[in-house]
């Protein structure tokens, strides 16, 4: 007979079991197939020089590499976030609709463990997908940078520039290659996708359908991208032109409290694609912000889900 000790509120092992099952579920849904067109896109970028590249000039080379990175990072962000919304929206409402959840919750599984397991599973799959896309981006970018370095070095030698100057130009071009800054940009997109998973998780705890969860999650994502514009307008009197009313301030406060602010995530990714130096403390701040959002949304999800009746 089973032991009579009470199951702990948070059991890492049980959370991992649910996370592992979620990963298996997503893998067997063949979600990684979406990586194939992305791979084709990233590799295909190598052959589109002519669209924006007019000749071996440093500025143009930098523009070309920046464009390469922008497309790769943008694709990663778009697919990461869409994947976060769709997969989370499919899993929990799916479990309720299929009544699989009945059988799970009739075992000694605290509801928080179930939610954390689902969150962890989806985030892990996004991490793997992001890592694969990152690997593809780094590989294609490396090949491109190497080709451009060889091309531009040859040109500068022909022009008779001194070696020190050539090295300086080479360093500028190499900064647009695969650097730690670029990885910070990838991390920013991954963290944003993880926050969106938590948002979709919260919505799916009270939603009755997959479609509703997807629609509302995408809406929250879009508001999260642009809410800073509204907030800046409402709280920065000088830019606003006239003093905001109390109602404006209340609305602004609600929007900034309820919806995540993705400006910092975007700023770090932008900096990475422009080969600007990303300050590690900013990355730390970003991780803290993402952790805070994850914590808030998971606790809210549990609050809604703990007394939900089936």
């Amino acid at each position: 007979m089973s032991k009579s000790t009470a199951p702990s509120f948070l059991s890492p092992r049980r959370i991992l079991v649910i996370a592992q099952s979620t990963v298996t579920h997503l893998i067997r849904m063949k979600v990684f197939y979406f990586l194939a067109p992305i791979a084709v896109l990233f590799v295909g970028l190598q052959f589109f020089d002519g669209l924006w590249y007019a000749g071996p000039d440093t500025t143009l080379v930098e523009q070309e590499l920046r464009m390469h990175k922008n497309i790769c990072l943008g694709t990663m962000m778009l697919f990461g976030c869409l994947f976060a919304v769709v997969s989370t929206a499919l899993l929990i409402p799916g479990d309720v609709e299929d009544r699989t959840l009945y059988t799970i919750l009739c075992k000694p599984v605290p509801r928080m463990d179930y939610l954390l397991g689902k969150l962890l599973g989806v985030v892990f799959v996004i991490l793997v997908a992001m890592a694969v896309m990152d690997l593809l981006m780094v590989a294609t970018l490396h090949l491109r940078v190497e080709a451009k370095l060889a091309e531009i070095t040859e040109l500068l030698i022909d022009r008779g520039l001194p070696e020190r100057e050539i090295e300086s130009v080479r360093a500028e071009v190499a900064a647009h290659g695969s650097t730690l800054n670029l990885q910070y940009g990838v991390l920013a997109h991954f963290l944003k996708a993880a926050v969106i998973v938590a948002v979709a998780l919260l919505i799916s705890t009270f939603s009755t359908s997959t479609l509703f969860t997807i629609a509302v999650s995408v809406m929250v994502w879009i508001i999260g991208e642009f809410q800073w514009i509204v907030r800046d307008g409402l709280f920065n009197d000088a830019e606003y032109g006239e003093l905001p009313t109390t109602a404006d301030r209340i609305v602004g406060t609600i929007v900034s409290v309820v919806f995540p602010d993705f400006r910092l995530f975007g700023a770090i990714a932008d900096g990475a694609s422009r080969a600007q130096t990303v300050i590690p403390s900013d990355v730390g701040q970003l991780c803290g912000l993402a952790g805070m959002y994850l914590g808030i949304y998971v606790v809210l999800s549990w609050f809604v889900f703990r007394d939900k009746e089936f």
Partner: protein, 294 residues
């Protein structure tokens, strides 16, 4: 009952709110029941009578509006009460992407089992429910009866002291249904308490010690099965090889006895289910055809 009851439902009331400020609907009205450890209890009632609501409240899937449910003395709203329960839902749905063995393993892991003990338990249960050969097949190809069997295996995975079965033989053929019934009796022998909901009254009658009849949310009758179904003023005799003379004598004896009356007389009958099982299990169809030809 001096020991802690396996199941205790006390004055359970459950209201459901209609959508958009609709009227409240009372699904269960002050239902009380107790199941002693080792007992097989059947809850029967028409559709919408409150059986599933009572069962869900017991499993913590619904919170009672008033009253309380407990499993081995623990409040059923608390997670730890589910450590001792195995539940087989009606029309069980599981992750279709998992195989039979993976499904039982998944639920075993949720109950904290692992390693060799879990592996052995998975094999033992698949054998018990007759799905050994389908252990590596994904559930999406399973028939309803096979899903019911895998549901039973997952319900038993952590060796629960209480088994809650909601229509356990729904969609299962008569032979499979008989096996499930035998399994319930076997579990009873092992001291496992069974709480059963079924529309198949004959089946309930065969396995249950006590029965509750629920209608429109109210427990209308409850008690020991034999006491509920026996007619106090009637006696049934089943005779074998009784010739016409013996039957005449009995009839005569009844006629001369004060107040006694022969209510009915006729050939004793088997049930259609027993006939079906005898014809399909003991004698394969092709063998029967050959005999007919001869």
């Amino acid at each position: 009952m001096s020991e802690v009851p396996a199941v205790e439902v006390k004055d359970l009331v459950k209201d459901f709110r209609g959508s958009f400020r609709g009227r409240k609907v009372r699904a269960v009205r002050k239902v009380s029941l107790q199941i002693a450890p080792g007992e097989v209890y059947g809850l029967i009632g028409p559709n919408g009578s409150g059986k599933s609501t009572t069962m869900k409240a017991l499993l913590g899937l619904l919170a009672p509006t008033s009253g309380a449910c407990a499993i081995f003395g623990r409040n059923s709203l608390k997670v730890d009460s589910r450590r001792d329960v195995g539940f087989l839902p009606e029309n069980p749905y599981f992750y279709k992407h998992l195989t039979a063995a993976e499904t039982v393993r998944f639920f075993g892991k949720l109950c904290g089992m692992r390693g060799r003990k879990l592996r052995e338990r998975v094999s033992e249960l698949l054998k018990l429910v007759g799905l050994e050969e389908a252990r590596d097949r994904r559930l999406k190809g399973f028939s309803k009866g096979m899903l019911q069997r895998i549901g039973l295996a997952q319900a038993l995975v952590q060796e629960p002291r209480l088994l809650v079965l909601d229509e356990p033989t729904a969609g299962v053929d008569p032979a499979g249904s008989r096996e499930i019934r035998d399994l319930i009796l076997e579990l009873k022998k092992r001291g496992i308490t069974v709480f059963l909901c079924s529309h198949l009254l004959e089946q309930v009658q065969e396995v249950c010690d006590r029965v509750g009849i629920i209608n429109q949310g109210v427990m209308v009758k409850e008690g020991v099965l034999e006491e509920l179904i026996s007619l106090e003023n009637r006696t049934e005799l089943v005779l074998e090889n009784a010739g016409p003379d013996l039957r005449d004598q009995i009839r005569l004896l009844v006629e001369v006895t004060d107040g006694a009356r022969m209510v009915s007389e006729g050939k004793a009958r088997t049930t259609l289910e027993r006939l079906f099982l005898e014809e399909t299990r003991d004698r394969p169809a092709n063998q029967k055809n050959l005999q007919d030809d001869e």
